[in-house]
């Protein structure tokens, strides 16, 4: 469906306003129904604890690590830690 079709059905005449509301709707859909899903890989650096999430990520669905609980270079889901570990990162980066 094109933007113009949605505008006609919803009775909106201002394009800018319609585009903003449609973007909001798509974000809401990505949050609740996950219609579009992507996977990206990041390098693990020794001693580096904090990693930036992808800029366009709306909802994180899974985080997997290579060799997590296996020695076959498979990517497996890693658990979320309830508390931060006692050992702090040395440089906080």
């Amino acid at each position: 469906m094109k933007v113009v079709d949605i505008m006609e059905r919803a009775g909106v005449v201002e394009t800018g306003r319609a585009v903003i509301y449609i973007k909001e709707a798509l974000e809401e859909i990505a949050m609740s129904s996950e219609t579009h899903v992507e996977t990206t890989r990041i390098d693990i650096e020794a001693g580096k604890r904090f990693y930036q999430l992808p800029n366009n990520a709306v909802k994180i669905l899974d985080i997997r690590c290579k060799n997590h609980e296996n020695g076959d270079s498979e990517y497996r889901s890693i658990p979320r830690s309830v508390y931060e570990p006692f050992t702090e990162d040395t440089d906080g980066i």
Binding site: A10, L26, L53, I60, R64
Partner: protein, 349 residues
């Protein structure tokens, strides 16, 4: 490869990755190991005639404990993140290299905007005819910057693409600095410039391997993307490997061999090495002609959402709640219509 155990937690907009490791209270690691060096698994150790010492075999096993720390080993593409995104663009690239598909070697910043860097097989890559201001591009292969971006200004003839995306990296760039180039060293020409280079190096000391992009050097081989080897040469950058993209589109890292030059005025950028793919031919959600990448049923939900927002604008809260309920119902029905039959429970392996 080694068996590992990771966990994560959220810290602001970042994700923290921690790795479990074994420690003993005596301060020594008590991990499983082979009596012969160079063997990391029990099978290969014993096949070589060595003895495999399990981690529980330590004499201080009663004081053993596990703890989570920052990752102990660098692993290429070690984290895989699956996420949902908003489909506000359609990729119409034909994957024609050099036309609507391009490879970049890293990203950095000019202090304000995000920059992408590339280099050819042996000379700088000219991007001036490939990208125009306001073009939409889609980045993939970059953990952090994957997604839709807009070009700020036409591509440079020196292999730099400036995007409208904000990025304030510290340090970002040493602009028009005069250096003497010799023996793979970029040495500041004056004391002031040596101090600038020293500050530039100190600010990225935390990185395991730092990378720079050199622009405007008089010799072609003095330009491009280099890894830095050490920081012991005061007031100088010691380049180690040069990263290039060959004719087949492969990324290669070879020992740098930079031609000697004196009083060369260059710009040096602090960059992060990533093998980035950039797609052109992107249709972005900007006007009425954009086709949403949703099913007809899901698009109907968008109509309800827009009606809900219009009701909200008119302070009609009942109308807002009514249409918002329809929106959510429509999405739920759309999702459940794709599930059929009973669920099965399976183990983790």
């Amino acid at each position: 490869m080694a068996f590992k155990r990771y966990a994560y937690y959220n810290k602001g907009n970042k994700v923290a990755i921690v790795e479990e490791s074994s420690h003993s209270t005596s301060g020594f690691l008590a991990v499983a190991h082979c009596t012969l060096s160079g063997y990391t698994t029990k099978a290969t150790c014993e096949a070589a005639g060595g003895q495999w010492i399990p981690s529980s075999g330590s004499s201080t096993s009663d004081t053993m404990y596990e703890k989570y720390t920052s990752p102990t080993e660098s692993i290429s593409k070690g984290i895989e993140i699956e996420y949902s995104y908003t489909p506000t663009f359609n990729i119409q690239s034909t994957l024609t290299e050099g036309s609507d598909f391009h490879r970049f070697i890293g990203w950095g910043s000019n202090g304000t905007n995000l920059l992408l860097f590339t280099y050819g097989a042996s000379d700088v890559a000219d991007l001036s005819s490939l990208f125009a201001a306001d073009d939409w591009i889609y980045i993939s292969g970059s953990g952090r910057w994957s997604g839709l971006h807009q070009v700020k200004s036409a591509g440079s003839a020196t292999g730099i693409l400036t995007l409208k995306t904000k990025c304030n990296l510290k340090p970002s760039v040493l602009t028009d600095i005069v250096v003497d180039i010799a023996d793979e060293l970029y040495i500041g020409d004056t004391n002031t410039q040596k101090m600038d280079i020293e500050a530039f190096k100190d600010a990225q000391d935390y990185r395991g391997t730092s990378y720079i992009f050199v622009e405007n050097a008089v010799n072609a081989d003095g330009n491009g993307i280099f890894s830095l080897s050490d920081t012991s040469n005061s007031g100088a950058l010691n380049v180690n490997n040069q990263i290039t993209i060959d004719a087949d589109g492969d990324y290669t890292s070879t020992a740098a061999n930079v031609t000697t030059a004196g009083n060369d005025t260059v710009s040096i950028y602090n960059i992060f090495y990533e093998q980035i793919s950039v797609y052109e031919g992107i249709e972005a959600l900007e006007d009425e002609s954009f086709e949403l990448d949703l099913t007809e049923y899901q698009a109907q939900a968008v109509v309800y959402y827009v009606k809900a927002k219009l009701s909200e604008d008119m302070r009609d809260m009942e109308g807002r709640e009514f249409f918002m309920r329809l929106f959510k119902k429509q999405m739920e029905k759309g999702a459940s219509s794709r599930k059929r039959g009973p669920y099965i429970v399976r183990g983790f392996f």
